[in-house]
């Protein structure tokens, strides 16, 4: 399934923040987690994740450090900041509102809605 670009761009902030809220992580692992969580329905172009991470870092929502762990290459890890957690909570409220709105309208129009139950 192709998800349109604007939607991908808009959802990238909460998704990345939420994944980093689970634990500190790095680019490749974040993408892997996105794929798992969406059952492969969300496919980001790999390289595009990095400008997103750098933007979040500039905004102070996450911070980065280079680290070499046992038996691994030196790697850039990202960690969510306190500000990032606040932003994540705010994003969550907003997305829940959008989601609730859409669920409501899916129910009213009935057919093809994921819930599939007419009003």
């Amino acid at each position: 399934m192709d998800i349109n670009k604007d939607l991908v761009a808009a959802s990238s902030t909460p998704i990345v923040l939420a994944i980093l809220a689970e634990e500190d992580s790095y680019g490749y692992a974040i993408l892997k987690r996105v794929r798992e969580l969406s059952n492969g329905r969300m496919e980001w172009t790999d390289g595009m994740l990095y400008p997103v991470l750098h933007r979040l870092e500039r905004l102070g929502l996450i911070e980065s450090r280079w680290e070499s762990r046992e038996g691994e290459r030196r790697r850039k890890y990202y960690r969510i900041t306190r500000q990032g957690r606040e932003r994540l909570a705010e994003e969550r409220r907003q997305w829940l509102a959008v989601d609730a709105t859409l669920r409501g309208i899916w129910r009213v129009i009935g057919d093809e809605g994921p819930a599939g139950e007419p009003a």
């Binding site: 790095y26 680019g27 490749y28 172009t45 790999d46 390289g47 595009m48 990095y50 400008p51 750098h54 933007r55 870092e57 500039r58 905004l59 102070g60 290459r73 030196r74 790697r75 850039k76």
Partner: protein
């Protein structure tokens, strides 16, 4: 070196050519690529296939470097060159850019001379030229960026409305000849209009901090290029006068009524085009000058404050005192802005930041001394338009610098990020334009056009 290493090395070289992607980012991307390849090899692909698939998933180099450039526009500023790296490529667009810019420069020169056709002469109608000075040039400059950035019609329309409103206001107001509200309007109109140029320059990125920061960089470089062109123009003029003098002809009338006004107007567009085209040739001069003069100004102000304290002298209140202190704050603000524009926001605080903090706080203290001296005397001196304008500007600058000082100290202590200071400055930009617009539009009415 294995085959895979060689391929990755090659891929790194391609990435390195992209100016928006720094070596440290290339390292990060390489780590990603290697892990992806390993995962695919585990899944049963051979190394070559795995490498190809991984590179493809990374996204096209163009798209990737575009995304990096959007996020890190400051990098492009430091390193862009006018000639495209790949031969062929963008050469045609470089040339059409030059043609449009030079065409607009000629148009600005013609625009300056056009009113003379209808009987407005430089000598007798100096007031007309003074209040319209910005309008001869800045709409064309904005037009250049409208063209260059392919701005959407809605924004273009709003810009046009802005310029037309300004033209109508300054030309229908019944200014008293030689009045100070006229002089103030002439002085402040270009500042207000500069915001419109900024909106055009940012080309849809005006709402982003990075877009505004780029405009600040552009303004500083433009100023420096303009001064350089003016210096060259001075040398050129001296030779012109000398040569014609040698054959007994006086070139001064030509200089005064043609070369100087047309050259001054056209040079703005030429300078803008040069800044756009050759951002790297004069490697960002404004930040270099800032580095040089920030410590010097900081020392000067500290020495001045020490002298005040040691000698117990008061400031002698002259007419120009307030304006002098306004200019001082403008210089301090300039030093601050161009220090911010060239700073990597991720760098930890260093000695130069300390110099900035000393500069900011001492400037604020000096200004406080001046303001308190003036406040005590303002009753006797009366509120003329000039004085209100100078006081207002002082207040605007004072607010900007006071908040900047607080944010800078917080950054120094590690309780705030540098980006907060950057955001404060970029958000503040419209305030200058709004204040200038107030002086142009409201002052004449309040002070009865005197």
């Amino acid at each position: 070196m294995s085959d895979l290493d060689r391929q990755i090395e090659q891929w790194r070289n391609f990435l390195r050519r992209r100016r928006a992607i720094h070596p440290v980012d290339v390292d990060e991307l390489e780590d990603h690529l290697r892990e992806q390849v390993a995962a695919l090899v585990d899944g049963g692909l051979d190394e070559d296939e795995a490498f190809l698939v991984s590179v493809k998933r990374m996204g096209s180099l163009d798209a990737l470097s575009r995304e990096f450039a959007r996020e890190h526009s400051d990098r492009l500023w430091k390193q862009l060159v006018v000639m495209p790296v790949e031969p062929g490529g963008d050469r045609a667009s470089t040339r059409s850019d030059a043609i449009v810019a030079l065409g607009l420069a000629v148009a600005a020169a013609i625009l300056v001379k056009l009113p003379a056709l209808f009987g407005w002469s430089f000598d007798e109608d100096a007031a007309y030229y003074a209040r319209n000075a910005g309008l001869f040039v800045l709409p064309l400059l904005a037009g250049y960026f409208v063209w260059k950035r392919s701005l959407n019609p809605a924004t273009t329309q709003r810009l046009a409305v802005g310029f037309i409103t300004a033209a109508v206001v300054v030309n229908i107001y019944p200014f008293a000849p030689e009045g100070s509200t006229l002089a103030l309007a002439a002085l402040h109109l270009p500042i207000a209009l500069w915001l419109l140029v900024g909106v055009a320059y940012a080309g849809g990125r005006w709402s982003e901090a990075q877009g505004r920061m780029d405009f600040i960089r552009f303004s500083g470089e433009l100023f420096i290029y303009y001064v350089l062109i003016a210096l060259g123009g001075g040398v050129f003029t001296a030779f012109m006068m000398m040569l014609f003098e040698a054959v007994g002809l006086n070139a001064e009338p030509f200089l005064e009524s043609w070369l100087l006004p047309c050259g001054a107007a056209g040079a703005v567009l030429v300078a803008a085009w040069l800044v756009e085209a050759k951002q790297s040739v004069v490697e960002n001069m404004a930040p270099v000058l800032t580095r040089l003069f920030t410590p010097m100004f900081a020392l000067l102000l500290v020495a001045f404050l020490a002298t005040l304290v040691a000698t117990g002298r008061g400031l002698s209140i002259e007419r120009e005192l307030l304006i002098a202190f306004d200019l001082l704050l403008v210089v301090v603000l300039g030093l601050l802005l161009y220090a911010i524009s060239a700073r990597d926001p991720h760098q930890p605080p260093g000695p130069f930041d300390l110099a900035q903090i000393v500069l900011l706080t001492s400037a604020l203290m000096v200004d406080a001394v001046a303001l308190s001296a003036i406040a005590a005397r303002i009753g006797d001196m009366g509120l003329t338009p000039n004085r209100v304008a100078a006081l207002g500007l002082n207040l605007v600058l004072l607010i900007n610098l006071a908040v900047s000082a607080v944010l800078y100290v917080r950054f120094w202590r590690g309780t705030a990020r540098f980006a907060v200071l950057e955001a404060w400055q970029t958000r503040f930009l419209p305030v200058f334009a709004i204040w200038a617009a107030i002086v142009v539009v409201i002052f004449p009415v309040v002070f009865d056009f005197t």
